[in-house]
Amino acid sequence: MVLAKLAPHLLSWAGIVLAMGRGFSGRRSVVAAGAIVGFPLGVAGACLLSRAYPGDFSFAIIRDIVGGSFLLLWGGAVAAIYSSTVREFPRSWGERLANSPFCAGAVALSSGMIAGAISACRLVGTYNTLPPFLLLALAASILALAALAVERALAASFPVSHSGLMASVVALLLFSASSIIRLDLFSPLTMKLMKFSHDFVHQFFESMLIPDHLFIRTYLWGYIGLLFGNGVGFWGALILWFTPAVLVALAIQWERLPSVAHIRQGAQRRRLLATGIRARRFRLVIPVLAMVVLAAAVYRSRFPSVEYWDPKPLPISASPSGDIFIPKKGDVDLEDGKLHKYLFKQGGREARFFVLMTPAGKLTVDLDACAICKPDGYGQAEGTVICYYCKTLIPLETVGQPGGCNPIPLPFTEKEDGVHIDGLTLLNMWGTNAQSTARVKGGGK
């Protein structure tokens, strides 16, 4: 059961070890040692972190580390493309470093630690005893050795370049992380990009002194409006997501073939060129596979296997003085830690909100909308609420705080028996926030 849950993580781990074994083919023992030590260290680290900082913080740290590895891949991919296309690019020290045993050990150790931490996150919260974690570490070590044995059996003509190795390891880490909703990077990337696009267009218009929408034709403004939608976030994130692997592939494709001008027999020249081209094609396999893995990570991010708690909004009305009262222990238990949605209608206007008990034991009342996205509302999963529009995860601890894609907090009074909300304030806040975002953004679900 535990192993079935861990299957995507362990498979990713086996792939990582296999790629590392081939990428550092002269340093297999260093890779094996680094991997076998690194993974349990990562598992232990994640356990300690989650005990020291229960809640989202420990997940955030691990997600940021995975994000850091993605940034490193970006750096590596840009360096690879420059190395292939620019003659005077200084590549000797980089090659020396990449070929050193230190590099092989460091990559194996750090990859193992990250993979171990990600895998452990799958168990944290569900299992509080040691055996599942020990089983994870043991299974990972056995898989690492098996992967290295498989790697030895692979044909020698199937090399992995350093940039290809980087792409495959990071892609597998991202895939592994995407299986855990709180470690997933693609959704936050989508969200950040949507915000960037919005800010950039605004700043660009201001900086270039371009007239505001008042003077621009509606159809044209409609096109500009596309830049504010979640489509831009999604497609832009896809571009950012795949570009490093594509750059690595292009860097390999654009590598210079060996100079053959000194050879005076045509067939020999062509054979040398063909060998170069064939080797280049083999090296392309890994970045292409990395792209497939990245695509799988996107799929898991967009269609996670977790079930959302998505309650139907309960209709609710206000007293003649405009007060909405929701009892703590009525038809629903407000303090059960679940998200409870309500729909308030008055005078042709309506607003949606929810009540939730945070892990800190505080009740919070929020609009079922944020200040940025189209008000598609929120669902609840694995210690977070999720914005259905941009798929951003909001940790339960931060629900009730304003900003970004957090649900907009609503003023309310908590009494012994329940919560009191002012109906007019609710309608006005919905009107000024949610309806404006619905008008501007368009699209969505």
Binding site: Q265, G266, A267, Q268, R269, R270, R271, L273, A274, I277
Partner: protein, 224 residues
């Protein structure tokens, strides 16, 4: 002392009950032009196919260019054919919808990568510099055979096999092709094994062997 490029020991090829080539012992030194004569069904083409890696012996040993042909895998045989052998057939087997230069480039493609400049140069060497862009149907029989020669030598083979290369040519064209092969051999120093019915053509070789019913019955040196 020149090295041996072809060495057979008891080389046999059976097709079911029919023995097309009976135990044959043959040595061909590097750079030699060997003519193979015999009646139809005497085993000439069988021998050529075995030497070119197009077929596998039933028994006996066959070493070509130091390679034990029986020890080669299918991939090994393909590599051997690609890199070691050039073959000229009686039927030209040119691709009808490709130009002369493209036909030569096709051989480059299967060997490694195409190179038009080199293919053009090869056609110029066989005197077809002015016919580069013509399709086979626009060339005479002799010209087509010269395209075949260019195609056969483009990958610098060590061994050039000819299966009745002049069988379809008139006397003048035959002489032209023979003269060309002689000239190219002098430049490239490849070994030629040529099957022919024609004693005049066989006489261009350094040595002629005669096969009859799969048996080497006679061999004679050509007087230069």
């Amino acid at each position: 002392m020149s090295t041996t490029i072809i060495e057979t020991g008891g080389l046999t090829r059976n097709y079911g009950d029919i023995c097309a080539l009976k135990p044959l012992d043959l040595k061909v030194p590097e750079g030699e032009w060997l003519s193979v004569m015999g009646h139809s069904g005497s085993g000439k083409s069988t021998l050529l196919n075995l030497l070119g890696g197009l077929d596998r012996p039933s028994n006996g040993s066959l070493r070509v260019g130091g390679e034990d042909m029986q020890g080669l895998t299918e991939d090994g045989l393909a590599r051997f054919r690609r890199e070691f052998v050039g073959i000229i057939f009686q039927q030209h087997h040119l691709i009808p919808y490709l130009t002369a230069v493209e036909n030569v480039m096709m051989a480059q493609y299967f060997h490694s990568v195409p190179d038009e400049a080199e293919a053009r140069l090869a056609l110029e060497r066989v005197g077809l510099g002015h016919r580069l862009k013509n399709r086979p149907s626009e060339l005479s029989g002799g010209e087509q055979q010269r395209v075949c020669i260019a195609r056969a030598i483009i990958n610098s083979p060590k061994l050039l096999l000819g299966d009745e290369p002049t069988g379809n040519l008139d006397h003048k064209s035959t002489l032209m092709v023979m003269e060309l092969l002689k000239e190219l051999r002098a430049e490239e120093r490849f070994t030629i094994v040529m099957v022919t019915h024609n004693p005049e053509v066989a006489a261009w070789g350094d040595r002629t062997i005669y096969l009859d019913d799969g048996i080497l019955v006679r061999e004679e040196r050509t007087r230069s």
